[in-house]
């Protein structure tokens, strides 16, 4: 079996699956249950000045019968006294010395406040600290969470303050509610962060009840924006991880999270540069037992490929993630329909006809059977038909050999510029 042990800026854990700082890590009871189930680490629900919560806190987005495609919450950080949490952290760490216990922290942007909480928390025996600059609701209105996390200077300064006091690794957790997450990631690195983690939740309103016209969820008839997570946010999170991973100024490890629901998702995040993954919504949907298949699936994946350690896949896809301007304009794929497999639902035809490039014809074969055929000369290789096709193997996207050498947009532009220059000098 492949070695699943991971190391995030010196914080080691038996496997890359951590519970994210959230309701599942609210108490020692829960975190210990999670470790017993097999989770490699846990980021404790954010410590700070205990808050008051509201009742009716979560809402989910269900899509076409699939429950919890996305998840929204308006719960705040821990509502339990700091001492209670620290005692339970101490007990948990004692019982599970090889598991990663990281404390998430959030205080007002003040040097003394950061020094105080960092010292107290480290005294409880945590393996590391995660600064919560991401929580988008409630705490942000008080100048904390994403209110801090959206301002690079505040990220840098507060990271610096935490680092002044910290003896364990400091992870800075970033908010996605910003145009360019690399700006705040770079700020965290400038402040001395040992690692960055992303993404926190995305500002969201889960829905509106069309019978009562109230927001979902509502608190006595009134709602406020929450934080969105779950499978629907994975592509957003994956992009942000990837953008940070390929940025040379963000030269610290990344803990990836945002919609990770299965071992395949975890592999994707790690290939795109995450040293481990954090998970919350999937556990809230199904319970801690999901970690069994996360570990099993990952392990089998690595074994089948002869990869000895999970750490060997970290960042392996980063070099292939670039800017649009570096993509080959002469690369060409086209759709090919396998009529033996096709069940003639005609979804590819109507998708192409109405919304793409009108290149899939509904025809009859010599025997009079309905068939679908792509006019390859008109196909732009957009993938839409293969996306809407409900049958595996009915549509292949086939690579065509190009007569032209590879040429990216950037290369093309520089070539044009050089030709112009050439003319001028002539």
């Amino acid at each position: 079996m492949a070695d699943l042990r991971t190391n995030l800026a010196g914080i080691t854990s038996p496997n890359p699956f951590w519970l994210a700082s959230a309701p599942p890590t609210n108490s020692g009871y829960q975190v210990q249950r999670a470790f017993e189930a097999g989770w490699g680490g846990a980021v404790w629900k954010t410590l700070g000045d205990p808050i008051l919560n509201v009742s009716s806190r979560y809402a989910a987005v269900h899509f076409n019968g699939q429950r919890v495609a996305g998840f929204n919450n308006i719960e705040l950080i821990t509502d339990r006294p700091l001492e209670v949490n620290l005692n339970e952290i101490y007990e948990t760490k004692k019982k599970f010395p090889n598991h990663a216990v990281v404390a998430s922290l959030m205080v007002e942007p003040n040097q003394d406040a950061w020094h105080e909480i960092v010292k107290k928390t480290e005294a409880a025996g945590v393996d590391g600290l995660e600064l919560n600059f991401g929580c988008p609701h409630g705490m942000a209105e008080r100048g904390m969470g994403s209110a801090s996390g959206q301002v690079p200077e505040l990220v840098e300064k507060q990271t610096y303050w935490a680092k002044e006091a910290a003896e364990t690794p400091v992870i800075v957790k970033l908010t996605p509610n910003i145009t360019d997450i690399t700006a705040t990631a770079e700020a965290a690195v400038r402040g001395g962060a040992d690692a960055v983690s992303m993404i926190n939740t995305i500002n969201s309103l889960a829905g509106v009840d069309i019978d009562t016209w109230r927001p979902i969820p509502h608190v006595g008839g009134k709602g406020a924006h929450g934080g969105y997570c779950g499978p629907a946010v994975k592509p957003i999170a994956l992009n942000m991880v990837s953008e940070c991973a390929r940025n040379s100024r963000i030269n610290v490890p990344i803990s990836g999270m945002g919609g990770v629901s299965n071992w395949q998702n975890a592999i994707e995040f790690m290939l795109m540069g995450a040293s481990n993954v954090q998970i919350c919504t999937a556990a809230m949907h199904h319970g801690f037992r999901i970690v069994e298949d996360l570990i099993d699936g990952l392990s089998t994946y690595l074994d089948e490929r002869g990869i000895l350690s999970v750490q060997d896949i970290i960042g392996k896809s980063v070099p292939s993630f670039s800017d649009w301007g570096n993509l080959d304009l002469n690369y060409k794929v086209v759709a090919r329909i396998n009529n033996d497999v096709c069940i003639n639902c005609n979804k590819c035809h109507i998708a192409c006809e109405d919304t793409s490039h009108q290149c899939i014809d509904m025809l009859k074969d010599p025997k009079g059977h309905a068939i679908l055929q792509v006019r390859e000369e008109d196909c732009v290789g957009c993938n839409l038909c293969s996306i809407v096709c409900p049958v595996d193997g009915a549509i292949d996207m086939v690579e065509l050999k190009s007569d032209l050498p590879p040429m990216t947009w950037n290369e093309r532009q520089s070539l044009i510029t050089s030709l112009k220059d050439h003319k001028v000098t002539k």
Partner: protein
């Protein structure tokens, strides 16, 4: 202690309750999600009435139940009945593309779910058209007649339906066993059509109570949708004995409580092997018959009942005696059936129509003891009535132009079972519904120029 009559009735009622349970909300939602929403979907093409099936299923998925029911009933005015009686595996479900990958969508059950919703929620789905000053008489209030009436009412015609029975609905009301199609469903469809201003005169026999020519002279057009008549005679000795029943009449008796007790603890033989024979047999079982046998002079391969009906009868404990030809009904002194004398048959080579003929095996006569005999060897036609109309027919099958449903008299249209046979038409309820629509549209086309408006 003897069981009280109401208790017995309640017990029998249970046996006549619908066999197939309705889909639950959750089941319907999940099944509707499974539909691929095909473009140019083969299920639509396979439906004789052309119901836009992907659309009505999509509407179940989106929670637009009224829209779903309306989509169904727009294309098929007896769509609630058809949801239950259509041979879906031969039509829509048989055409579902998912047959080639997983398993077909339960289209019939979803159609039932949507129409049940409309029934339960007392929905008004249609409004009658602006009156156009034209009137149409429809003879026969079965699926074909009702379907034509509904379409004509939407187009603004003044429509009167003449129905010989106490209630309209025809086959759907009287001829399909309750455990497949409860009477209330058919009567809801009738009510929907009445709500559009269609007058339905029940208990009126044209040709007896009102002469046909009167309809012809007082209306712009007449539609004949008179269906078929009773089961013909077996033409063997003993035909009139006490204990010989007509399968169609038997089914009709079970469509309403109180249920008859004449087959309780009786040994019943059913003659024939079509869907009506199955109905006669399964109704007999439910009425408390001790033993039910179906006798058929051909073999299992030739039987015309749908496979699922055959399976259903076997589940009910109905026994089948193949290659068995009844030759004489045996009675006791008081004229009560005591048995059926039969001969064994053997199959010969296939004839021109591909069906194998049978011939009796000499000296193979034997007796099957029984107390009751249910005839189910097809249906007679209203031959003398049809002959009096002076329109072209072939042995009681009215000849029509299949594109327009027009008979040899351009003022008379015909649809439904009355045109079925001799290689013309289809026997299904859903085909009758489509023929009714076709008759209405072409009649409308032919009358367009004469509008007062």
């Amino acid at each position: 202690m003897s069981t009280s009559e109401p208790m017995i009735q309640r017990e029998i009622q249970k046996r006549f309750n619908e066999v197939t349970p309705p889909l639950t909300n959750q089941e319907a939602f999940q099944e509707s999600q499974r539909c691929l929403y095909c473009y140019d979907a083969p299920c639509i093409q396979a439906c004789p009435t052309g119901i836009d099936i992907p659309t009505f299923i999509k509407k179940i998925a989106s929670g637009n139940m009224k829209g779903s029911a309306k989509t169904i009933m727009t294309a098929n005015p007896v769509g609630a009945s058809c949801a239950r009686v259509c041979p879906t595996e031969e039509l829509c479900e048989g055409a579902c593309v998912l047959n080639h990958s997983t398993k077909p969508i339960l289209i019939g059950n979803l159609q039932r779910y949507a129409t049940d919703w409309a029934i339960k929620n007392d929905q008004v789905l249609f409004k009658e058209g602006q009156p156009n000053g034209k009137s149409v008489a429809i003879v026969g209030g079965g699926p074909a007649g009702l379907s034509a009436a509904r379409e004509l009412a939407l187009l603004g015609y003044s429509v009167t339906v003449y129905e010989a029975e106490k209630q309209a609905g025809g086959l759907d009301t009287y001829g399909i066993v309750s455990f497949r199609l409860p009477k209330a469903i058919s009567l809801w469809e009738v009510e929907q059509i009445e709500n559009l201003g269609v007058t339905i005169k029940t208990g009126v026999k044209i040709g007896i109570d009102i002469p046909f020519h009167e309809l012809l002279s007082t209306n712009d057009r007449v539609i004949l949708a008179i269906g078929m008549a009773n089961v013909p005679d077996l033409q063997i000795p003993g035909e009139n004995a006490e204990g010989v029943y007509d399968a169609i009449e038997l089914v009709k008796m079970t469509k309403d409580a109180p249920f008859p007790s004449h087959l309780k603890d009786k040994k019943v033989v059913v003659i024939g092997a079509g869907n009506t024979a199955i109905d006669g047999a399964t109704c007999s079982v439910r009425l408390g018959a001790e033993n039910v046998k179906i006798l058929y002079r051909r073999s299992e391969q030739e039987m015309t009942a749908y496979d699922f009906e055959y399976e259903f009868a076997k589940q009910d404990g109905v026994e089948f005696r193949w290659l068995t030809q009844p030759v004489e009904i045996v009675t006791n002194k008081s004229g009560q059936v005591t048995g059926m004398k039969c001969v064994k048959m053997k199959l010969s080579e296939a004839a021109e129509d591909g069906r194998r003929r049978t011939e009796p095996i000499p000296n193979s006569e034997f007796l099957i003891e029984c107390d009751a005999i249910v005839k189910a060897i097809g249906q007679k036609r209203h031959l003398s009535f049809i002959e009096d109309l002076g329109i072209a027919h072939n042995d009681g099958v009215i000849l029509i132009n299949p594109d327009t449903m027009e008979t040899s008299n351009p003022k008379i249209y015909a649809c439904g079972d009355v045109i079925f046979g001799k290689g013309q038409g289809e026997a299904m309820v859903v085909s009758a519904a489509q023929q009714g629509k076709t008759a209405a549209y072409h009649m409308h086309e032919s009358l367009k120029e004469t509008y007062s408006a």
